[in-house]
């Protein structure tokens, strides 16, 4: 069984469109994340949710809106897509407590904006 899954795996769309990426984890973790990996492989956190509550919001344009219907799901909606949004988006989850734990990553969604 896949621990962290994302759909779709590939997304090709035109500038100005609105799109969503879905993420689900079956690990029972409380915390989920969205990361963006650019063409140079640099991975940067965008958002983090803990038990459906937004915890981290890293200076991401407000065209990006995460939504967590329950602690097993964290979706990413992007409005008015721009060329610079082209990247690979990774969802991740972890069990955060008083000590740090590793994060489990999904397979990624490659977004191409034309």
């Amino acid at each position: 069984d896949t621990a962290v899954s994302q759909t779709p795996k590939y997304l090709v769309t035109q500038m100005g469109n609105d799109k969503s990426i879905k993420c689900e984890q079956n690990l029972g973790h409380d915390t989920m994340y969205w990361y963006k990996q650019d063409s140079k492989k640099f991975l940067k956190i965008m958002f983090s949710y803990n038990n459906k509550e937004l915890i981290i919001n890293e200076t991401v344009p407000n065209r990006f809106s995460p939504k967590s219907p329950d602690k097993a799901h964290l979706n990413l909606h992007i409005n008015s897509l721009e060329l610079g949004d082209s990247a690979v988006y990774f969802c991740a989850s972890s069990q955060v407590g008083t000590i740090s734990y590793e994060q489990y990553f999904g397979p990624g969604t490659r977004l191409t904006v034309t």
Binding site: V4, T31, K40, K41, F42, L43, K44, I45, S48, N50, I55, I56, F90, A92, S94, V96, G97, S100, Y101, E102, Q103, Y104, F105, G106, P107, G108
Partner: protein, 114 residues
């Protein structure tokens, strides 16, 4: 902002040789983690070393941490072609609310030639 900085950016070795990758960071950390990313895939957690630890082993992996120099190294012994991947260090910056914020370096691309 970027925290970890891996060195070298790319490393090519022959099967059976050892591979050493280094990571430097700027601020105090709770822990440092190493992840592997195979081409076109998500990141996979390899090993976590806490700030009060100096060395840790996991199979063919050995990680060291020198907090006085703000640096870490990942050693892969007796490398195999299957070790070909990008390797990232990530430092744990504890965010308010207890959520973990991992800050990733740019990665080292390791190629193991059969």
């Amino acid at each position: 902002s970027q925290q970890g900085e891996e060195d070298p950016q790319a490393l090519s070795i022959q099967e059976g040789e050892n591979a050493t990758m280094n990571c430097s960071y700027k601020t105090s950390i709770n822990n440092l983690q190493w992840y592997r990313q195979n081409s076109g895939r998500g990141l996979v957690h390899l090993i976590l070393i806490r700030s009060n630890e100096r060395e840790k082993h996991s199979g063919r992996l050995r990680v060291t941490l020198d907090t006085s120099k703000k640096s870490s190294s990942l050693l892969i012994t007796a490398s195999r072609a299957a070790d070909t991947a990008s390797y990232f260090c990530a430092t744990d910056n504890r965010y308010q609310g207890g959520s973990e914020k991992l800050v990733f370096g740019k990665g080292t691309k390791l190629t193991v030639n059969p």
